[in-house]
């Protein structure tokens, strides 16, 4: 069986996998990091999104062996060591952007990448379009959009019109 060596949330691991093992299976089953979820089998829902080398990736759509040597961050690795939440996690809580919580890890990981890729800041429409890879069945996205709008300002160190309007 092939071996994969990777860093997950700052910790090195070497794991034996099958050639067909998906990254999400490695995370959930081998490393027992069950915060990353599986909501579909057609790469539609985004519940499985993690960061690989700083970019958001659907962990159900990439083989574990492809991530050999990579740096992976999952929802479990977002908060600071002292428990301080990432601004995106904080905003999701503040704006009630989660209900059942199942889409939440993938949604938060996607949102962080989205904000990082748009240092100029996004409008409501751009945030909605940016979430095309993530499904939420509970919230209707209203509060998710508000949370991301607020978090982008914190992450970029400024306050936008949208966040003010959302308050």
């Amino acid at each position: 069986m092939p071996q994969v060596t990777l860093t997950v949330n700052g910790k090195n691991s070497t794991v034996e996998v099958e050639g067909r093992t998906l990254l999400v299976e490695l995370l959930r089953e081998k490393l027992r990091l069950t915060g990353t979820h599986v909501g579909c089998d057609t790469s539609q829902c985004g519940a499985c999104v993690v960061h690989v080398d700083g970019e958001s990736v659907k962990a159900c759509t990439i083989l574990a062996v492809q991530v050999d040597g990579g740096q992976v961050t999952t929802i479990e690795g977002l908060a600071a060591a002292d428990g301080t939440l990432h601004p995106m996690q904080e905003a999701f809580r503040e704006y009630h952007a989660l209900q059942c919580g199942f889409c939440t890890p993938g949604m938060v990981m996607s949102a962080i990448d989205l904000v990082q890729k748009h240092p100029e800041g996004m409008s409501e429409r751009e945030i909605r379009e940016g979430l095309e890879g993530n499904l939420c069945r509970c919230t209707g996205y209203h509060n998710i959009v508000k949370a991301i709008a607020a978090a982008q300002d914190v992450m970029h160190g400024k306050r936008s019109e949208l966040a003010r309007a959302a308050e």
């Binding site: 089998d41 977002l78 919580g101 199942f102 889409c103 209707g140």
Partner: protein
């Protein structure tokens, strides 16, 4: 001393207690649980809609690596069938047809997805590989993809026990009086429609783990359920014959339900049974594509209706004839959805003197249909609110005016409808006025003209609705065929140092009970929110419960907690009286403090609870130690949330794409405990309603294959498909529960679809469109626009 900051109690938008674990990846959903030594099950499902199983050869599969066991219907035929929780009666008084629903198909498969065999293997992939190696020889029988086909004379029979594929033929209301009303009508408006079939698609796929301890004989089932005690009751008593004392059902964190996780499913029985046969844990997790063909679907009605009006536009009577699809087997609540949760709502918010409704429920070779968010009330609301718009168009009346003219008067409550329900409270005029104001109804024509300049078609639609939830009085539902009581159970455990644990039979799968229920305790007992913990979802911890569906958690479960808190306060007052050397009659209690009336002599709750558990100075002759009380609350009536939704759409002429540009919901959900959570519930419900109106539909082809069988083919609303949703409340209190609450989980999905469709029809009015069926997909709308344009060009 008042220890509670007021912002933690009733009416405060406190942030949710559960969020930290979900945001940190520390939720514990069923699939996150790994039992030591667990094996994995894979279900081999029928690829045919209707087929005899002639031969099943598992020899090659058994020899595959890792295979532990393979089971077929032969192995499980001694088990009970999956039970139905509701027995309807036909017009003639005879009981509905209730064919056996085997755990694994017995000789015949009745829908694509029907379990045919179960493979248990060391790993999930080994189980899947082996399932593929099972050879099944089928004799394909005619599929019954639609109700029309199933009811056609000479149609193939799905079940021997259901002649003509008919489950029941039921009616409600006064036929003679309704006929008489139509005979004297000035105008009769007729309308036919289909309520599109939906796939619930909670984001967490179903999963189940069975475990068995041979030394104690205890079975444990972890399952993605909205109601673990109900699963214990149904599976233990009817399928596996396990006494409650030996069966523990745990529904841990559950990732959304929307009804689809109420029901007892075969897979739960399979893993529980297999675990005891194999003496090791057995786990099954559903793939999404598998969920499409095994989770119960929703809606799927075909209806014809007629409304009789007098010359002033007053409604005189309503006639409704509905076909309701049950799918291949009766799911837990299926029979009651198109009857007691649908036909009883046909009076809507209107004073309708007489109604007669007939409902036929039909078996088809499709996956079972049961309650999905709203369950029957969205179907009733859609029918009525489209019908009223059609009536307005045909009588030349204004859409708002025709509604106002027929609303139940605000001083007419309690209001007895002609279809069994008695609404306790409501104020439809106020929710209407507030919604018209917020949505800018008066200024709409200017916005329409503006859009027209950009070549867009803009329309506005309104829906005024009432629903019945907070289910339900046990005696009433019992007389209507429910095989269970629908009370709820709450335990308040005050610990020695004054913190509180709440045990509730309701189950949270997104609703935020851990917060809302804690707010009730903070408000009443004055315990800070941080010291109140809510426990749910485990039959070994919570005494009993009926679970969460029908927006009942707060109205029924919350009321049980209030009753339990009343008992706690009663007992604590006696203890306080002893400690304060006063008479019980003189003790007052307010948010955490017991006081001898008119004095400054007080005891805090924590002092009283300490005395209860360390009863050194205690009225031990009269009172038991401890401070914990349980209450069962059986509601006196349904609750009746209502309100008004207004939707504004824009349609692109070139593509037929409908965009919702404004959505306003003004709902009366009774007293609001946490406005932030209520708003979120309404927004989520509206999103599902917009999904139903514009995007979602389960489509079966004539061979019974589900064409929309994955997230690639079934169109779920994404962020860019939805607008911001403006939510407001106008409160009238429920008159019969102690909190005055009505329920908010389903109003969004109930009120919104007709508002959207009324807007779509309004936008298309220049093309002479009378009605558009849901979902209003771009292709459908483009065809309407194109046909209309061609017709107009020809004229």
């Amino acid at each position: 001393m008042n220890v509670v900051a007021p912002f933690e109690g009733i009416g405060a938008s406190v942030r949710r207690k559960e969020d930290l674990r979900f945001l940190s990846g520390r939720g514990q959903y069923t699939d996150d649980i790994a039992r030591p030594g667990q094996a994995h099950a894979c279900i081999l499902r029928s690829p045919h809609a209707h087929a005899r199983i002639l031969k099943l050869d598992a020899a090659a599969a058994r020899a595959m690596p890792g295979v532990v066991a393979i089971y077929t219907g032969e192995d499980t035929k001694g088990l009970g069938g999956i039970p139905c929780g509701w027995q309807l009666h036909n017009k003639d008084g005879s009981p509905m047809a209730e064919p056996r629903h085997p755990v694994i198909a017995e000789g015949k498969a009745r829908h694509v997805g029907d379990p045919v065999a179960v493979v248990v293997a060391e790993t999930r992939t080994q189980a899947k590989d082996a399932a593929e190696a099972i050879e099944v020889e089928y004799e394909v029988l005619p599929a019954l993809s639609t109700m029309k086909e199933a009811l056609a004379p000479g149609a193939a029979q799905l079940h021997d026990a259901a002649p003509g594929n008919l489950c029941y033929d039921w009616h409600i209301g006064d036929k003679a009086a309704t006929d008489a009303a139509f005979a004297r009508a000035h105008k009769v408006v007729r309308f036919e429609t289909t309520n599109n079939r939906l796939v619930p698609n909670a984001m967490e796929p179903r999963a189940a783990i069975g475990d068995y301890d041979p030394t104690t004989g205890e079975h444990t089932l972890w399952t993605t359920s909205q109601n673990p005690h109900v699963i214990r009751l149904l599976m233990g008593a009817f399928v596996l014959n396990i006494p409650e004392s030996r069966l523990r059902v745990v529904a841990p964190d559950v990732g959304g339900g929307f009804g689809s996780k109420i029901y007892h499913y075969a897979e739960e029985a399979i893993v529980t049974w297999a675990a005891s046969k194999l003496n090791r844990p057995v786990k099954w997790t559903c793939d999404r594509s598998e969920a499409f063909i095994s989770d119960a679907h929703g809606r799927d009605h075909v209806t014809t209706c007629e409304l009789a009006l007098d010359e002033t536009g007053k409604f005189l009577g309503l006639r409704v004839d509905t076909l309701a699809n049950m799918g291949a087997y009766l799911s837990t609540f299926a029979p009651c959805v198109p009857t007691y949760l649908y036909a009883t709502l046909l009076s809507g918010v209107y004073s309708l003197p007489t109604i007669y409704a007939e409902v036929k429920a039909v078996f088809t070779s499709t996956v079972a249909v049961d309650a999905y968010r709203g369950a029957g009330r969205p179907e009733a609301t859609y029918l009525l609110e489209r019908l009223v718009d059609v009536a307005a168009a045909e009588t030349g009346m204004d859409r708002v005016e025709i509604r106002r003219r027929n609303f139940i008067a605000t001083d007419a409550f309690p209001y007895q409808t002609p279809v069994a329900l008695q609404y306790d409270s409501g104020d439809y005029f106020s929710t209407l006025d507030a919604a018209l104001e917020t949505a800018g109804w008066a200024g709409f024509e200017a916005r329409r003209a503006e859009a027209a300049k950009e070549g867009k078609l803009r329309g506005i639609g309104i829906s005024t609705y009432v629903e019945a939830c907070g289910i339900a009085p046990s005696a009433v539902v019992g007389s209507l065929g429910a095989r269970a009581g629908l009370y709820e159970v709450g335990t308040i455990r005050v610990h020695p140092t004054g913190s509180v644990t709440v045990l509730t039979g309701a189950h949270s799968h997104g609703q935020g009970h851990e917060t809302t229920f804690a707010q009730l305790v903070a408000d009443r007992l004055g315990v800070p929110l941080s010291q109140v913990d809510v426990v749910h979802g485990d039959t070994a911890k919570v005494p009993f419960g009926m679970g969460t569906y029908g927006s009942r958690s707060l109205a029924v479960g919350g009321s049980a907690m209030v009753k339990a808190m009343d008992k706690v306060v009663d007992k604590a007052k006696k203890i306080a009286a002893h400690l304060l050397e006063a008479s019980v009659q003189d003790i007052e209690f307010d948010r955490g403090t017991f006081r001898v009336a008119g004095t400054d002599r007080t005891k805090a709750l924590a002092e009283v609870s300490l005395a209860a558990y360390v009863p050194h100075n205690y009225p031990i002759e009269e009172l038991e130690p401890g401070l914990e009380e349980t209450a069962f609350y059986d509601p006196k009536n349904f609750t009746y949330p209502g309100g008004c939704h207004i939707c504004e759409v824009e349609i692109e002429r070139d593509t037929g794409k409908v965009s919702v540009v404004n959505f306003t919901a003004v709902d009366d959900v009774g007293r609001v405990i946490n406005p932030m959570i209520v708003e979120g519930q309404v927004q989520g419900g509206v999103a599902q309603g917009i999904g139903q109106a514009l995007m979602e539909q389960a489509v079966y082809d004539e061979s019974g294959q589900l064409l929309s069988g994955s997230m690639m083919d079934y169109s779920l609303p994404r962020a860019e498909d939805l607008p911001m949703v403006s939510v407001a409340n106008h409160v009238t209190l429920c008159t019969h529960n102690p909190l005055g609450v009505k329920g908010c989980g389903e109003v969004g999905a109930i009120g919104s679809p007709p508002a959207v469709m009324n807007a779509v029809v309004d936008a298309l009015r220049e093309f002479g469109v009378r009605h558009v069926e849901m979902p209003a997909t771009p292709a459908k709308i483009w065809n309407i626009i194109n046909a209309g344009a061609q017709r107009m060009a020809a004229e």
